[in-house]
Symmetry: C2
Subunit: 273 residues, 2 copies
Protein backbone atom coordinates (compact mmCIF):
# COMPACT_ATOMS: atom_id res chain seq x y z
CA UNK A 1 0.00 0.00 0.00
CA UNK A 2 1.47 3.31 -1.00
CA UNK A 3 0.98 6.58 0.75
CA UNK A 4 1.81 9.92 -0.79
CA UNK A 5 2.72 12.79 1.49
CA UNK A 6 3.26 16.29 0.26
CA UNK A 7 4.45 19.35 2.11
CA UNK A 8 5.52 22.85 1.31
CA UNK A 9 9.15 22.23 1.87
CA UNK A 10 9.57 18.76 0.51
CA UNK A 11 7.81 16.09 -1.45
CA UNK A 12 8.30 12.54 -0.35
CA UNK A 13 6.77 9.20 -1.05
CA UNK A 14 6.63 6.86 1.89
CA UNK A 15 6.07 3.21 1.13
CA UNK A 16 5.29 0.80 3.92
CA UNK A 17 4.29 -2.67 2.85
CA UNK A 18 1.20 -3.01 5.00
CA UNK A 19 -2.24 -1.37 5.24
CA UNK A 20 -2.10 1.81 7.26
CA UNK A 21 -4.05 4.81 8.41
CA UNK A 22 -2.61 8.21 9.25
CA UNK A 23 -4.18 10.92 11.36
CA UNK A 24 -3.01 14.52 11.43
CA UNK A 25 -4.07 17.43 13.63
CA UNK A 26 -4.50 20.59 11.60
CA UNK A 27 -2.10 23.08 13.18
CA UNK A 28 -2.72 26.63 14.23
CA UNK A 29 -6.49 26.89 14.07
CA UNK A 30 -7.62 30.06 15.84
CA UNK A 31 -10.33 30.31 18.48
CA UNK A 32 -13.56 30.17 16.49
CA UNK A 33 -16.08 33.02 16.83
CA UNK A 34 -19.71 33.30 15.73
CA UNK A 35 -19.91 33.81 12.00
CA UNK A 36 -16.46 32.41 11.27
CA UNK A 37 -16.10 30.37 8.09
CA UNK A 38 -14.99 26.95 9.37
CA UNK A 39 -14.30 25.67 5.86
CA UNK A 40 -11.90 28.54 5.26
CA UNK A 41 -10.20 27.96 8.63
CA UNK A 42 -9.79 24.28 7.74
CA UNK A 43 -8.44 25.03 4.27
CA UNK A 44 -5.91 27.41 5.85
CA UNK A 45 -5.00 24.78 8.47
CA UNK A 46 -4.43 22.15 5.80
CA UNK A 47 -2.13 24.50 3.93
CA UNK A 48 -0.32 25.44 7.12
CA UNK A 49 0.22 21.74 7.84
CA UNK A 50 1.46 21.00 4.34
CA UNK A 51 -1.47 18.64 3.77
CA UNK A 52 -3.03 18.36 0.33
CA UNK A 53 -6.58 17.10 0.59
CA UNK A 54 -7.35 13.81 -1.20
CA UNK A 55 -10.80 12.55 -2.18
CA UNK A 56 -10.65 9.60 0.23
CA UNK A 57 -9.65 11.78 3.17
CA UNK A 58 -11.92 12.13 6.18
CA UNK A 59 -12.02 15.25 8.35
CA UNK A 60 -13.21 14.91 11.93
CA UNK A 61 -14.27 18.29 13.30
CA UNK A 62 -15.23 18.82 16.93
CA UNK A 63 -18.79 20.01 17.35
CA UNK A 64 -17.54 22.81 19.55
CA UNK A 65 -16.05 24.85 16.74
CA UNK A 66 -19.11 24.23 14.54
CA UNK A 67 -21.37 25.38 17.38
CA UNK A 68 -19.28 28.48 17.93
CA UNK A 69 -19.30 29.38 14.26
CA UNK A 70 -23.09 29.00 14.36
CA UNK A 71 -23.27 31.30 17.37
CA UNK A 72 -24.93 28.69 19.59
CA UNK A 73 -24.15 30.52 22.80
CA UNK A 74 -26.77 31.10 25.46
CA UNK A 75 -26.29 33.50 28.34
CA UNK A 76 -27.85 31.79 31.33
CA UNK A 77 -28.69 35.20 32.79
CA UNK A 78 -31.33 35.55 30.05
CA UNK A 79 -32.99 32.19 30.85
CA UNK A 80 -36.14 31.87 32.96
CA UNK A 81 -36.46 28.33 34.31
CA UNK A 82 -39.83 26.60 34.02
CA UNK A 83 -41.41 24.82 36.96
CA UNK A 84 -40.31 21.51 35.41
CA UNK A 85 -36.74 22.75 35.12
CA UNK A 86 -36.81 23.76 38.81
CA UNK A 87 -38.03 20.27 39.74
CA UNK A 88 -35.28 18.60 37.72
CA UNK A 89 -32.72 21.02 39.11
CA UNK A 90 -33.74 20.08 42.64
CA UNK A 91 -33.27 16.37 41.88
CA UNK A 92 -29.98 16.72 40.01
CA UNK A 93 -28.41 19.58 41.95
CA UNK A 94 -27.84 21.51 38.75
CA UNK A 95 -28.67 25.19 38.20
CA UNK A 96 -32.30 25.69 37.15
CA UNK A 97 -31.26 27.96 34.27
CA UNK A 98 -28.86 25.31 32.92
CA UNK A 99 -31.52 22.61 33.29
CA UNK A 100 -33.98 24.79 31.38
CA UNK A 101 -31.55 24.98 28.46
CA UNK A 102 -30.80 21.24 28.63
CA UNK A 103 -34.50 20.39 28.56
CA UNK A 104 -35.13 22.80 25.70
CA UNK A 105 -32.57 20.80 23.69
CA UNK A 106 -34.03 17.42 24.70
CA UNK A 107 -36.97 15.27 23.62
CA UNK A 108 -37.19 13.42 26.93
CA UNK A 109 -35.36 12.68 30.16
CA UNK A 110 -33.71 9.27 30.13
CA UNK A 111 -32.25 9.12 33.66
CA UNK A 112 -31.61 11.63 36.40
CA UNK A 113 -30.24 11.68 39.86
CA UNK A 114 -27.98 13.85 42.00
CA UNK A 115 -25.26 15.18 39.72
CA UNK A 116 -26.50 13.44 36.58
CA UNK A 117 -29.03 14.37 33.91
CA UNK A 118 -29.17 12.03 30.90
CA UNK A 119 -31.59 12.95 28.13
CA UNK A 120 -32.60 11.89 24.68
CA UNK A 121 -31.46 14.87 22.65
CA UNK A 122 -33.79 16.42 20.08
CA UNK A 123 -31.24 15.10 17.55
CA UNK A 124 -32.06 11.53 18.65
CA UNK A 125 -29.05 10.38 20.65
CA UNK A 126 -28.83 9.86 24.40
CA UNK A 127 -26.21 11.81 26.32
CA UNK A 128 -25.51 13.74 29.49
CA UNK A 129 -26.64 17.37 29.72
CA UNK A 130 -27.74 17.49 26.05
CA UNK A 131 -24.13 17.92 25.07
CA UNK A 132 -23.96 21.32 26.73
CA UNK A 133 -20.51 21.92 28.10
CA UNK A 134 -19.68 24.77 30.40
CA UNK A 135 -15.93 24.43 30.10
CA UNK A 136 -13.91 25.90 27.24
CA UNK A 137 -16.63 28.30 26.29
CA UNK A 138 -14.87 31.59 26.50
CA UNK A 139 -13.15 34.11 28.70
CA UNK A 140 -16.42 35.80 29.68
CA UNK A 141 -16.88 33.13 32.24
CA UNK A 142 -19.54 31.41 34.15
CA UNK A 143 -22.81 32.44 32.56
CA UNK A 144 -22.21 31.34 28.97
CA UNK A 145 -23.08 27.90 27.72
CA UNK A 146 -22.66 26.46 24.24
CA UNK A 147 -25.36 24.30 22.63
CA UNK A 148 -24.68 21.68 19.98
CA UNK A 149 -25.07 22.74 16.33
CA UNK A 150 -28.66 23.18 15.15
CA UNK A 151 -28.42 20.28 12.66
CA UNK A 152 -24.95 18.71 12.66
CA UNK A 153 -25.66 16.44 9.67
CA UNK A 154 -26.59 19.54 7.66
CA UNK A 155 -23.53 21.36 9.01
CA UNK A 156 -21.37 18.45 7.82
CA UNK A 157 -22.91 18.55 4.34
CA UNK A 158 -22.40 22.30 4.09
CA UNK A 159 -18.81 22.02 5.28
CA UNK A 160 -18.12 19.30 2.71
CA UNK A 161 -19.55 21.42 -0.09
CA UNK A 162 -17.66 24.53 1.04
CA UNK A 163 -14.38 22.60 1.17
CA UNK A 164 -15.10 21.25 -2.30
CA UNK A 165 -15.49 24.81 -3.54
CA UNK A 166 -12.35 26.00 -1.77
CA UNK A 167 -10.04 23.08 -2.52
CA UNK A 168 -11.59 21.17 -5.43
CA UNK A 169 -11.82 18.07 -3.22
CA UNK A 170 -14.85 16.92 -1.21
CA UNK A 171 -13.61 14.98 1.83
CA UNK A 172 -15.93 13.01 4.06
CA UNK A 173 -16.84 14.94 7.21
CA UNK A 174 -17.54 13.74 10.73
CA UNK A 175 -18.67 16.22 13.39
CA UNK A 176 -17.71 14.78 16.75
CA UNK A 177 -18.66 15.12 20.35
CA UNK A 178 -17.62 13.05 23.35
CA UNK A 179 -20.17 11.01 25.26
CA UNK A 180 -20.16 8.99 28.41
CA UNK A 181 -21.74 5.56 28.18
CA UNK A 182 -23.96 3.21 30.13
CA UNK A 183 -21.96 0.28 31.56
CA UNK A 184 -18.56 1.74 30.73
CA UNK A 185 -16.55 4.52 32.35
CA UNK A 186 -14.86 7.33 30.49
CA UNK A 187 -15.87 9.45 27.55
CA UNK A 188 -15.29 8.48 23.94
CA UNK A 189 -15.56 10.41 20.71
CA UNK A 190 -18.83 9.85 18.85
CA UNK A 191 -20.27 11.22 15.63
CA UNK A 192 -23.16 13.68 15.85
CA UNK A 193 -22.87 14.82 12.24
CA UNK A 194 -21.59 13.16 9.07
CA UNK A 195 -21.45 13.65 5.32
CA UNK A 196 -19.82 11.82 2.43
CA UNK A 197 -19.49 8.40 4.05
CA UNK A 198 -21.60 5.57 5.46
CA UNK A 199 -21.90 6.51 9.13
CA UNK A 200 -23.22 3.00 9.75
CA UNK A 201 -21.35 0.51 7.57
CA UNK A 202 -23.31 -2.61 6.79
CA UNK A 203 -21.00 -5.54 6.10
CA UNK A 204 -23.62 -8.22 6.66
CA UNK A 205 -23.58 -10.91 4.07
CA UNK A 206 -19.89 -10.57 3.32
CA UNK A 207 -17.85 -13.76 3.59
CA UNK A 208 -15.31 -14.24 6.30
CA UNK A 209 -12.03 -16.05 5.83
CA UNK A 210 -13.79 -19.41 5.69
CA UNK A 211 -16.56 -18.24 3.39
CA UNK A 212 -19.15 -18.38 6.11
CA UNK A 213 -21.38 -15.35 6.21
CA UNK A 214 -20.51 -12.82 8.88
CA UNK A 215 -23.30 -12.67 11.42
CA UNK A 216 -23.45 -9.20 12.90
CA UNK A 217 -21.03 -6.81 11.38
CA UNK A 218 -22.68 -3.45 11.23
CA UNK A 219 -19.80 -1.14 12.06
CA UNK A 220 -20.44 2.29 13.53
CA UNK A 221 -17.83 3.74 11.21
CA UNK A 222 -18.43 7.41 12.00
CA UNK A 223 -18.24 6.71 15.75
CA UNK A 224 -14.97 4.82 15.33
CA UNK A 225 -13.57 7.72 13.31
CA UNK A 226 -14.63 10.16 16.02
CA UNK A 227 -13.05 7.96 18.70
CA UNK A 228 -9.84 7.68 16.70
CA UNK A 229 -9.63 11.44 16.15
CA UNK A 230 -10.20 12.03 19.86
CA UNK A 231 -6.83 10.35 20.46
CA UNK A 232 -5.34 13.51 18.94
CA UNK A 233 -7.92 16.14 19.78
CA UNK A 234 -9.29 14.98 23.09
CA UNK A 235 -6.48 15.83 25.41
CA UNK A 236 -5.81 19.30 24.08
CA UNK A 237 -9.13 20.98 24.92
CA UNK A 238 -9.96 22.98 21.83
CA UNK A 239 -6.41 23.40 20.68
CA UNK A 240 -6.77 20.62 18.06
CA UNK A 241 -10.33 20.70 16.78
CA UNK A 242 -9.77 19.22 13.31
CA UNK A 243 -8.19 15.86 12.48
CA UNK A 244 -7.45 14.58 9.00
CA UNK A 245 -7.76 10.79 8.72
CA UNK A 246 -6.14 9.24 5.66
CA UNK A 247 -6.11 5.62 4.53
CA UNK A 248 -9.51 4.31 5.63
CA UNK A 249 -10.66 1.88 2.94
CA UNK A 250 -14.35 1.37 2.36
CA UNK A 251 -15.92 -1.50 0.44
CA UNK A 252 -16.60 -0.74 -3.22
CA UNK A 253 -20.03 0.80 -3.57
CA UNK A 254 -20.29 1.87 0.06
CA UNK A 255 -22.87 4.66 0.19
CA UNK A 256 -21.59 8.19 0.64
CA UNK A 257 -24.85 9.70 1.83
CA UNK A 258 -24.80 8.51 5.43
CA UNK A 259 -25.84 10.73 8.32
CA UNK A 260 -24.88 10.54 11.97
CA UNK A 261 -28.60 10.23 12.65
CA UNK A 262 -28.32 6.73 11.12
CA UNK A 263 -26.47 5.76 14.31
CA UNK A 264 -29.38 6.53 16.62
CA UNK A 265 -30.95 3.26 17.72
CA UNK A 266 -34.70 3.35 17.05
CA UNK A 267 -36.71 3.25 20.26
CA UNK A 268 -38.27 -0.11 19.36
CA UNK A 269 -34.80 -1.65 19.11
CA UNK A 270 -33.60 -0.07 22.33
CA UNK A 271 -33.71 -2.37 25.34
CA UNK A 272 -32.24 0.22 27.67
CA UNK A 273 -34.19 3.42 27.00
CA UNK B 1 6.86 16.52 15.28
CA UNK B 2 9.20 14.02 13.73
CA UNK B 3 8.36 10.47 12.82
CA UNK B 4 10.92 7.84 11.99
CA UNK B 5 9.92 4.99 9.70
CA UNK B 6 12.12 2.06 8.98
CA UNK B 7 11.61 -0.77 6.53
CA UNK B 8 13.61 -3.64 5.14
CA UNK B 9 14.22 -2.05 1.81
CA UNK B 10 14.70 1.55 2.71
CA UNK B 11 15.12 3.94 5.57
CA UNK B 12 13.32 7.24 5.42
CA UNK B 13 12.51 10.05 7.75
CA UNK B 14 9.17 11.70 7.20
CA UNK B 15 8.65 15.08 8.82
CA UNK B 16 5.20 16.61 8.92
CA UNK B 17 4.86 19.75 10.97
CA UNK B 18 1.80 18.76 12.99
CA UNK B 19 0.87 16.19 15.65
CA UNK B 20 0.04 12.86 14.08
CA UNK B 21 -0.78 9.25 14.78
CA UNK B 22 -0.04 6.33 12.50
CA UNK B 23 -1.68 2.92 12.52
CA UNK B 24 -0.29 -0.13 10.75
CA UNK B 25 -1.76 -3.58 10.24
CA UNK B 26 0.79 -6.28 10.82
CA UNK B 27 0.94 -8.22 7.56
CA UNK B 28 0.83 -11.94 7.00
CA UNK B 29 -0.24 -13.25 10.37
CA UNK B 30 -1.28 -16.89 10.07
CA UNK B 31 -4.51 -18.41 11.35
CA UNK B 32 -3.87 -18.85 15.07
CA UNK B 33 -4.21 -22.30 16.64
CA UNK B 34 -4.39 -23.40 20.27
CA UNK B 35 -0.97 -23.23 21.86
CA UNK B 36 0.45 -20.76 19.34
CA UNK B 37 2.82 -18.14 20.71
CA UNK B 38 1.06 -14.87 19.86
CA UNK B 39 4.06 -12.78 20.93
CA UNK B 40 6.26 -14.66 18.46
CA UNK B 41 3.67 -14.26 15.70
CA UNK B 42 3.53 -10.53 16.40
CA UNK B 43 7.31 -10.17 16.46
CA UNK B 44 7.46 -11.96 13.10
CA UNK B 45 4.67 -9.75 11.72
CA UNK B 46 6.47 -6.60 12.81
CA UNK B 47 9.61 -7.76 11.06
CA UNK B 48 7.66 -8.72 7.95
CA UNK B 49 6.12 -5.24 7.89
CA UNK B 50 9.42 -3.50 8.36
CA UNK B 51 8.25 -2.06 11.65
CA UNK B 52 10.73 -1.58 14.50
CA UNK B 53 8.92 -1.46 17.82
CA UNK B 54 9.31 1.74 19.84
CA UNK B 55 8.64 2.09 23.58
CA UNK B 56 5.67 4.43 23.05
CA UNK B 57 4.01 2.10 20.54
CA UNK B 58 0.66 0.53 21.29
CA UNK B 59 -0.40 -2.84 19.89
CA UNK B 60 -4.11 -3.56 19.58
CA UNK B 61 -4.72 -7.30 19.33
CA UNK B 62 -8.15 -8.78 18.59
CA UNK B 63 -9.41 -11.02 21.36
CA UNK B 64 -10.12 -13.71 18.79
CA UNK B 65 -6.50 -14.62 18.23
CA UNK B 66 -5.76 -14.51 21.97
CA UNK B 67 -8.74 -16.81 22.62
CA UNK B 68 -7.62 -19.20 19.92
CA UNK B 69 -4.07 -19.33 21.27
CA UNK B 70 -5.57 -20.10 24.67
CA UNK B 71 -7.67 -22.89 23.16
CA UNK B 72 -10.97 -21.35 24.24
CA UNK B 73 -13.04 -23.45 21.89
CA UNK B 74 -16.14 -25.29 23.04
CA UNK B 75 -17.87 -27.96 20.97
CA UNK B 76 -21.57 -27.37 21.48
CA UNK B 77 -22.17 -31.11 20.97
CA UNK B 78 -20.53 -31.67 24.36
CA UNK B 79 -22.77 -29.17 26.17
CA UNK B 80 -25.84 -30.19 28.19
CA UNK B 81 -28.19 -27.23 28.63
CA UNK B 82 -29.58 -26.54 32.08
CA UNK B 83 -33.27 -25.90 32.65
CA UNK B 84 -32.47 -22.17 32.96
CA UNK B 85 -30.63 -22.26 29.63
CA UNK B 86 -33.64 -23.92 28.00
CA UNK B 87 -35.92 -21.19 29.37
CA UNK B 88 -33.66 -18.41 28.08
CA UNK B 89 -33.31 -20.22 24.77
CA UNK B 90 -37.09 -20.31 24.42
CA UNK B 91 -37.32 -16.55 25.04
CA UNK B 92 -34.44 -15.57 22.79
CA UNK B 93 -34.80 -18.16 20.04
CA UNK B 94 -31.17 -19.18 20.46
CA UNK B 95 -29.88 -22.75 20.70
CA UNK B 96 -30.05 -24.08 24.27
CA UNK B 97 -26.46 -25.34 24.06
CA UNK B 98 -25.21 -21.90 22.99
CA UNK B 99 -27.24 -20.23 25.73
CA UNK B 100 -25.74 -22.61 28.27
CA UNK B 101 -22.25 -21.53 27.27
CA UNK B 102 -23.23 -17.84 27.25
CA UNK B 103 -24.68 -18.11 30.76
CA UNK B 104 -21.65 -20.00 32.01
CA UNK B 105 -19.56 -16.99 30.93
CA UNK B 106 -21.95 -14.45 32.48
CA UNK B 107 -22.61 -13.08 35.96
CA UNK B 108 -26.18 -12.06 35.17
CA UNK B 109 -28.65 -11.44 32.38
CA UNK B 110 -29.06 -7.75 31.60
CA UNK B 111 -31.74 -7.87 28.87
CA UNK B 112 -33.26 -10.56 26.69
CA UNK B 113 -35.87 -10.88 24.05
CA UNK B 114 -36.36 -12.66 20.74
CA UNK B 115 -33.01 -12.69 18.98
CA UNK B 116 -31.13 -10.81 21.70
CA UNK B 117 -29.33 -11.89 24.87
CA UNK B 118 -27.39 -9.18 26.68
CA UNK B 119 -25.47 -10.22 29.78
CA UNK B 120 -23.03 -8.84 32.30
CA UNK B 121 -19.97 -10.91 31.52
CA UNK B 122 -18.02 -12.56 34.34
CA UNK B 123 -15.27 -10.07 33.34
CA UNK B 124 -17.58 -7.20 34.32
CA UNK B 125 -18.67 -5.62 31.05
CA UNK B 126 -22.10 -5.79 29.43
CA UNK B 127 -22.33 -7.23 25.94
CA UNK B 128 -24.38 -9.44 23.64
CA UNK B 129 -23.90 -13.21 23.86
CA UNK B 130 -20.98 -12.94 26.31
CA UNK B 131 -18.74 -12.09 23.38
CA UNK B 132 -19.20 -15.55 21.89
CA UNK B 133 -19.12 -15.35 18.14
CA UNK B 134 -20.00 -18.26 15.92
CA UNK B 135 -18.56 -16.76 12.75
CA UNK B 136 -14.87 -16.90 11.86
CA UNK B 137 -14.22 -19.74 14.22
CA UNK B 138 -12.80 -22.41 11.94
CA UNK B 139 -13.40 -24.73 9.03
CA UNK B 140 -14.90 -27.45 11.20
CA UNK B 141 -18.13 -25.58 11.05
CA UNK B 142 -21.28 -25.15 12.97
CA UNK B 143 -20.72 -26.75 16.33
CA UNK B 144 -17.64 -24.88 17.50
CA UNK B 145 -17.83 -21.66 19.46
CA UNK B 146 -15.00 -19.50 20.78
CA UNK B 147 -15.11 -17.96 24.25
CA UNK B 148 -13.28 -14.79 25.23
CA UNK B 149 -9.85 -15.20 26.86
CA UNK B 150 -9.89 -16.41 30.45
CA UNK B 151 -8.41 -13.17 31.82
CA UNK B 152 -7.70 -10.66 29.03
CA UNK B 153 -5.93 -8.19 31.31
CA UNK B 154 -3.56 -10.97 32.36
CA UNK B 155 -3.18 -12.04 28.73
CA UNK B 156 -2.22 -8.45 27.85
CA UNK B 157 0.38 -8.33 30.61
CA UNK B 158 1.89 -11.65 29.52
CA UNK B 159 1.98 -10.56 25.89
CA UNK B 160 3.70 -7.31 26.86
CA UNK B 161 6.32 -9.18 28.85
CA UNK B 162 6.89 -11.74 26.11
CA UNK B 163 7.34 -9.01 23.50
CA UNK B 164 9.79 -7.28 25.81
CA UNK B 165 11.79 -10.49 25.96
CA UNK B 166 11.65 -11.04 22.21
CA UNK B 167 12.26 -7.48 21.01
CA UNK B 168 13.76 -5.57 23.94
CA UNK B 169 10.81 -3.18 23.87
CA UNK B 170 7.64 -3.38 25.98
CA UNK B 171 4.79 -1.78 24.01
CA UNK B 172 1.43 -1.05 25.57
CA UNK B 173 -1.15 -3.73 24.73
CA UNK B 174 -4.88 -3.50 24.16
CA UNK B 175 -6.91 -6.66 23.62
CA UNK B 176 -10.01 -5.68 21.67
CA UNK B 177 -13.46 -6.98 20.97
CA UNK B 178 -16.38 -5.30 19.23
CA UNK B 179 -19.54 -4.51 21.14
CA UNK B 180 -22.94 -3.22 20.24
CA UNK B 181 -24.29 -0.43 22.41
CA UNK B 182 -27.47 0.77 24.05
CA UNK B 183 -28.93 3.81 22.25
CA UNK B 184 -26.59 3.60 19.26
CA UNK B 185 -26.52 1.26 16.28
CA UNK B 186 -23.46 -0.51 14.97
CA UNK B 187 -20.56 -2.24 16.64
CA UNK B 188 -17.44 -0.46 17.81
CA UNK B 189 -14.09 -1.73 18.98
CA UNK B 190 -13.70 -1.81 22.77
CA UNK B 191 -10.92 -2.88 25.10
CA UNK B 192 -11.39 -6.06 27.12
CA UNK B 193 -7.73 -6.34 28.10
CA UNK B 194 -4.96 -3.82 28.56
CA UNK B 195 -1.41 -3.49 29.86
CA UNK B 196 1.19 -0.76 29.93
CA UNK B 197 -1.13 2.23 29.64
CA UNK B 198 -3.93 4.01 31.51
CA UNK B 199 -7.05 2.33 30.11
CA UNK B 200 -9.06 5.11 31.71
CA UNK B 201 -7.21 8.40 31.40
CA UNK B 202 -8.08 10.92 34.06
CA UNK B 203 -7.55 14.47 32.85
CA UNK B 204 -9.73 16.11 35.44
CA UNK B 205 -8.20 19.16 36.97
CA UNK B 206 -6.15 20.07 33.93
CA UNK B 207 -6.62 23.58 32.60
CA UNK B 208 -8.28 24.26 29.30
CA UNK B 209 -7.25 27.05 26.94
CA UNK B 210 -8.75 29.67 29.22
CA UNK B 211 -7.28 28.21 32.39
CA UNK B 212 -10.65 27.05 33.62
CA UNK B 213 -10.65 23.53 34.99
CA UNK B 214 -12.00 20.91 32.62
CA UNK B 215 -15.19 19.46 34.03
CA UNK B 216 -15.55 15.89 32.88
CA UNK B 217 -12.61 14.62 30.98
CA UNK B 218 -12.11 11.04 31.87
CA UNK B 219 -11.18 9.54 28.51
CA UNK B 220 -11.72 5.84 27.83
CA UNK B 221 -8.32 5.69 26.17
CA UNK B 222 -8.17 1.93 25.66
CA UNK B 223 -11.63 1.92 24.11
CA UNK B 224 -10.70 4.73 21.73
CA UNK B 225 -7.57 2.81 20.74
CA UNK B 226 -9.65 -0.33 20.10
CA UNK B 227 -12.13 1.68 18.02
CA UNK B 228 -9.33 3.27 16.03
CA UNK B 229 -7.68 -0.08 15.33
CA UNK B 230 -11.00 -1.52 14.22
CA UNK B 231 -10.87 0.93 11.29
CA UNK B 232 -8.10 -1.31 9.97
CA UNK B 233 -8.95 -4.70 11.43
CA UNK B 234 -12.75 -4.64 11.54
CA UNK B 235 -13.62 -5.08 7.92
CA UNK B 236 -11.20 -7.87 7.19
CA UNK B 237 -12.59 -10.58 9.48
CA UNK B 238 -9.49 -12.08 11.09
CA UNK B 239 -7.14 -11.20 8.30
CA UNK B 240 -5.73 -8.22 10.22
CA UNK B 241 -5.77 -9.08 13.89
CA UNK B 242 -2.92 -6.86 15.10
CA UNK B 243 -2.61 -3.09 14.70
CA UNK B 244 0.39 -1.00 15.68
CA UNK B 245 -0.58 2.51 16.81
CA UNK B 246 2.24 5.03 16.90
CA UNK B 247 2.20 8.64 18.03
CA UNK B 248 -0.30 8.65 20.87
CA UNK B 249 1.00 11.14 23.46
CA UNK B 250 0.09 10.66 27.09
CA UNK B 251 0.43 13.26 29.83
CA UNK B 252 3.69 13.05 31.78
CA UNK B 253 3.27 10.70 34.69
CA UNK B 254 0.25 8.90 33.23
CA UNK B 255 0.06 5.51 34.95
CA UNK B 256 1.13 2.48 32.93
CA UNK B 257 -0.61 -0.09 35.09
CA UNK B 258 -4.16 0.32 33.81
CA UNK B 259 -6.44 -2.63 33.12
CA UNK B 260 -9.44 -2.88 30.82
CA UNK B 261 -11.41 -3.79 33.92
CA UNK B 262 -10.97 -0.14 34.97
CA UNK B 263 -13.47 0.70 32.22
CA UNK B 264 -16.30 -1.31 33.73
CA UNK B 265 -18.77 1.07 35.31
CA UNK B 266 -19.43 0.02 38.91
CA UNK B 267 -23.02 -1.07 39.43
CA UNK B 268 -23.73 1.78 41.84
CA UNK B 269 -22.78 4.29 39.14
CA UNK B 270 -24.78 2.54 36.43
CA UNK B 271 -28.19 4.08 35.78
CA UNK B 272 -29.01 1.62 33.00
CA UNK B 273 -28.14 -1.80 34.39
Amino acid sequence: MGLVMESHTEKRILLVNTPQIQMFSLPGLPIVKPGDDVARLIADGLERGGLVLQPSDILVVTSKIVSKSEGRFVDLRTVTPSERARQVAAITGKEPELVEVILSESASISRMRQGTLVTRHRLGFVSANAGIDRSNVGPDGEMWVLLLPVDPDASARRLREALHTLTGVAPAIVISDTHGRPFRLGNVGVAIGAAGLPALLDLRGRDDLFHRKLMHTDIALADELAAAADLLSGQAAEGRPVTLIRGVCLPPGAPDDGRAADLNRPLDLDLFR
